[in-house]
């Protein structure tokens, strides 16, 4: 067997002038690509709002590092697949090719369905943590009643539904008209979002606790000390206890919900696999950078007021940390700038969810698994209008559920995602054995003690996913234990991909098409 080595004078390969040989995307591009989907801003909002308040005995620094450790193997599973099968892009093909087309559909459909369902969550966050706080805080600080009223209305169920629906409609319309406009503004919006985080970091770094507390009290009327303790207790804040690993892990569900989605660059493989190394490290690196930002914010939050105080403020005011930071500032202008910029960080999952779900529908339609109409690309705009409209309508439906049905909390579907990731991890374990030629010809054909590293990574990913499945099952604030309807929802969606596959197979057979033939490998004699 050939060995990896560093010869004295490196030998190179010679490429012909041939189409498709592109330079790999730049390091920074790929990193931003992945970080964008993690959403540092939303992760911090959820951690400051929930992890600080409702998990007694949780150490949020340990929590962040533990969740990072759980995420990395899953991240590597996608990175290894992206390096080994750079053209395929996504779990649909990874699982279909490695295990079985029906399982590929099951895994992919599970993700699509949850992207569909989760269309409701970030669109509501847009109202809850973006538009609402901006108007209410700026209105309060400038004495503008209509802004306060509008801001408060935004965070009501009907207000969040209306504002979220407008966002979904605007995004779907932009995607129908073509992605160029969206791409043009998205980098700018990402920078705006990061400016909001930057303002918080700089402010908390240099501000004193006294100044923060006095500003906050002056602007909101909420005093600190015993007054806050009493109000927090009434609002359900759970007094902190001794360190608890269980509660630390449970509090981490709010980190995991963001951090696990760091593998987006799996979809931008290069023709000649010079990009493979970049893929390998860029996904874990995106998780690492996002984790570092969260740790910095936690440390500065600890410094400025103490994380327990944030927990109490979250329980009493239900304000995101950005609004708390803004109310702790002296300058109205900087507070307004912070909250305005954060609006563009408050929904960052949504565009990717809509795009990914509609792309998957397009792929299913081409494979005859859903009606062909969903695969039609509009000749004028070159976009899959019917898929986009379907995903948009589904997202509005999910938004209604999220804003009006308490059982459909932000975390309930992550259990479903975990089931999907578990199938991909099993595929990673099996990949070197099921597709040995592809594995041996890939740049990730490493072994430890004779065992393919990819299989080891897949197994570690299953361990991480198992831990997180337990957490999302038992989380008392948004887990699915004891909620029959959400349990049914998770397992029904997980299984529905199989049902769709076999129904489509039957329908297509009546039309003379064998769906199973789609992924059947041609035997070589």
């Amino acid at each position: 067997m050939a060995e990896q080595a560093v010869p004295a004078t490196p030998v190179r390969m010679f490429e012909r002038q041939a189409t498709g040989l592109v330079r790999a995307a730049g390091t920074l591009d790929v990193l931003i690509y992945n970080i964008n989907f993690v959403s540092i801003g939303l992760m911090a909002v959820l951690v400051f709002l929930f992890s600080t308040a409702f998990y007694p005995g949780a150490n949020l620094y340990v929590m962040t590092l533990l969740i990072f450790a759980c995420v990395i193997p899953t991240s590597l599973v996608f990175a290894f697949f992206a390096a080994a099968m750079p053209r395929s892009g996504g779990d649909y093909v990874y699982v279909s090719r490695t295990l079985h087309p029906a399982l590929g559909m099951m895994s992919s459909w599970n993700n699509t369905a949850w992207w569909f369902m989760y269309g409701g969550v970030p669109s509501a966050f847009f109202a809850y943590y973006g538009v609402g706080p901006f108007f209410s805080v700026v209105g309060e600080r400038t004495g503008t009643d209509w802004m306060v009223r509008f801001g408060n209305w935004c965070v009501t169920p009907i207000g969040a539904f209306v504002v979220g629906t407008i966002l979904i409609a605007v995004l779907v319309a932009i995607f129908i008209l073509g992605l160029h406009l969206f791409f043009r503004v998205q980098n700018f919006l990402f920078v705006l979002g990061m400016i909001s985080i930057g303002i918080v970091i700089v402010t908390w770094l240099f501000q004193s606790t006294g100044a923060f507390e006095s500003n906050f009290t002056a602007h909101t009327g909420q005093a600190f000390g015993p007054a806050l303790d009493g109000a927090a207790k009434k609002a359900g804040y759970v007094e902190d206890g001794p360190f608890s690993l269980k509660w630390t892990l449970l509090a981490g569900t709010w980190v995991y919900i963001n951090l696990v989605f760091n593998q987006s660059s799996a979809y931008i493989g290069g023709e000649v696999r010079r990009a493979s190394r970049l893929q390998l490290w860029s996904m874990p690196a995106a998780a690492a950078v996002s984790t570092a930002f969260l740790l910095i914010l936690l440390a500065l939050g600890d410094k400025i007021a103490g994380l327990h105080t944030f927990g109490k403020l979250a329980a009493v005011t239900a304000l995101p940390f950005t609004a708390i930071a803004a109310q702790g500032m002296n300058s109205d202008a900087i507070a307004a700038l912070l909250l305005f910029c954060f609006i563009f960080f408050s929904y960052t999952w949504l565009p990717g969810q809509i795009l990914n779900a509609s792309r998957n529908f397009l792929a299913y339609a081409l494979d005859g698994l859903v009606p062909a109409k969903l695969g039609e690309v509009n000749p004028r705009f070159h976009t899959p209008i019917y898929s986009l409209l379907l995903v948009g309508a589904g997202s509005v439906g999910a938004l209604w559920l999220f804003t009006h049905w308490s059982a459909f909390a932000a975390l309930v579907g992550i259990f479903g995602f975990i089931l999907g990731f578990a199938i991909v991890s099993v595929a990673a374990i099996a990949f070197p054995y099921r597709l040995p030629e592809v594995f041996e010809s890939s740049p990730v054909r490493w072994r430890w003690g004779g065992v393919p590293v990819m299989s080891i990574v897949g197994a570690l990913s299953l361990v991480g996913l198992g831990i997180m499945a337990w957490a999302f099952w038992t989380d008392p604030s948004a887990g699915i234990e004891g909620k029959l309807s959400t349990k049914i929802l998770n397992f029904a969606i997980f299984g529905s991909g199989l049902v769709i596959y076999f129904v489509a197979k039957h329908v297509q057979r009546l039309r003379g098409v064998d769906v199973a033939r789609r992924f059947k490998e041609i035997p070589i004699e």
């Binding site: 490196p10 010679f14 012909r16 919006l189 070159h382 041996e440 890939s442 740049p443």
Partner: protein, 313 residues
């Protein structure tokens, strides 16, 4: 009549072997490989010590010690659609320093490998009733045309109209200009003139299938990453930007002649279907580097397409 169409295997021996088995596997009457059949790179295995070869494969430096390891390494290189080439240190220096010599070696190796492929085809298809068409694409050097012409079992339909049962097949390997300046590229006006010239051989009342390597412009079958001048991928807003890169000449020709079916390749990432007037256009895409051959099965009956199915064999 059942047609199996695939393209863009780019030197992948596994895909070639699968293509040769496709007629039997899919029960197809006609199989078409629509261009870009040769590999994109030469990978020298430099013998630095007797029985020890060094190579750079997929971003890694590797050393093969012994014949068995070298053969295994060559197999992996071929799997990815590249050409392994054993040479001495002196010859490697020649390859590095002398561009003309290098190009000659690459072409020689390419033709030799294709000859081997064709021997395999002649042997494998000897008892098959299916017609087998293999056409070059824009990436294929002109030298391979003479190699293809030697095959007893394979027909190269490029640049002409061929009668296939009750249908006529019009084929063209050429494309509009690409950023890589490949072998068979023409400006749009010249490409349109070329297509029109080939089209003069079409019979008026016979349904036609157009086998055009390049997809029609702005059809959804031609969306490729937008590239910078130095061939970097443009990324905006966390997404790579895709733009239509197909040929306006191909589109105009399809609009004018309205064939029953358009079969296209060239843009690997743009698998899909499009309808231009009454013409169904298909691009099965390509994942050749994974040893998978992306193709499409089309059932034709009279002057209609009964059904089509994308397959990943």
């Amino acid at each position: 009549m059942r047609v199996y169409y695939a393209g863009d295997i780019h030197g992948s021996e596994k895909c070639w072997r699968k293509f040769l088995s496709a007629a039997a596997f899919y029960e197809a009457d006609v199989v078409i490989l629509g261009g870009d059949i040769t590999g994109k790179a030469l990978v020298p295995l430099v013998e630095r010590r007797p029985g020890e070869w060094s190579a750079h494969v997929l971003g890694r430096d590797e050393v093969a010690r012994g014949e068995e390891a070298a053969t295994e390494l060559e197999k992996r290189i071929r799997f990815n659609g590249f050409y392994p080439y054993r040479c001495s240190e002196d010859e490697y220096r020649g390859l590095e320093e002398d561009e003309e010599y290098r190009e000659r070696v690459v072409t020689d190796v390419m033709c030799r490998e294709l000859e081997r492929w064709l021997e395999l085809a002649d042997e494998k298809l000897a008892d098959s009733d299916a017609r087998c068409f293999v056409m070059p694409g824009n990436d294929d050097e002109f030298e391979i045309d003479t190699v293809l012409a030697r095959s007893t079992r394979i027909e190269n339909p490029d640049g002409r109209v061929v009668r296939v049962g009750a249908y006529q097949l019009l084929s063209c390997a050429w494309t509009n200009p690409t950023p890589w300046h490949t072998a068979r590229e023409l400006p749009e006006d010249e490409l349109e003139a070329k297509l029109e010239e080939i089209g003069t051989a079409l019979e008026r009342d016979m349904p036609a299938v157009f086998n055009l390597h390049c997809p029609p412009h702005d059809s959804g079958l031609d969306m490729a990453p937008w590239l910078t001048d130095d061939l970097g991928v443009v990324i905006r807003g966390g997404e790579q930007v895709l733009i239509p890169v197909g040929s306006r000449a191909v589109r105009a020709t399809i609009e004018r002649h309205q064939p029953l079916l358009g079969l296209h390749g060239h843009i690997h990432e743009s698998r899909g279907t499009a309808t231009i007037g009454r013409t169904l256009c298909l691009n099965p895409g390509s994942a050749y580097s994974e040893g998978v051959i992306d193709g499409v099965l089309v059932d034709l009956d009279g002057d209609r397409v009964v059904r089509h199915q994308f397959v990943q064999g």
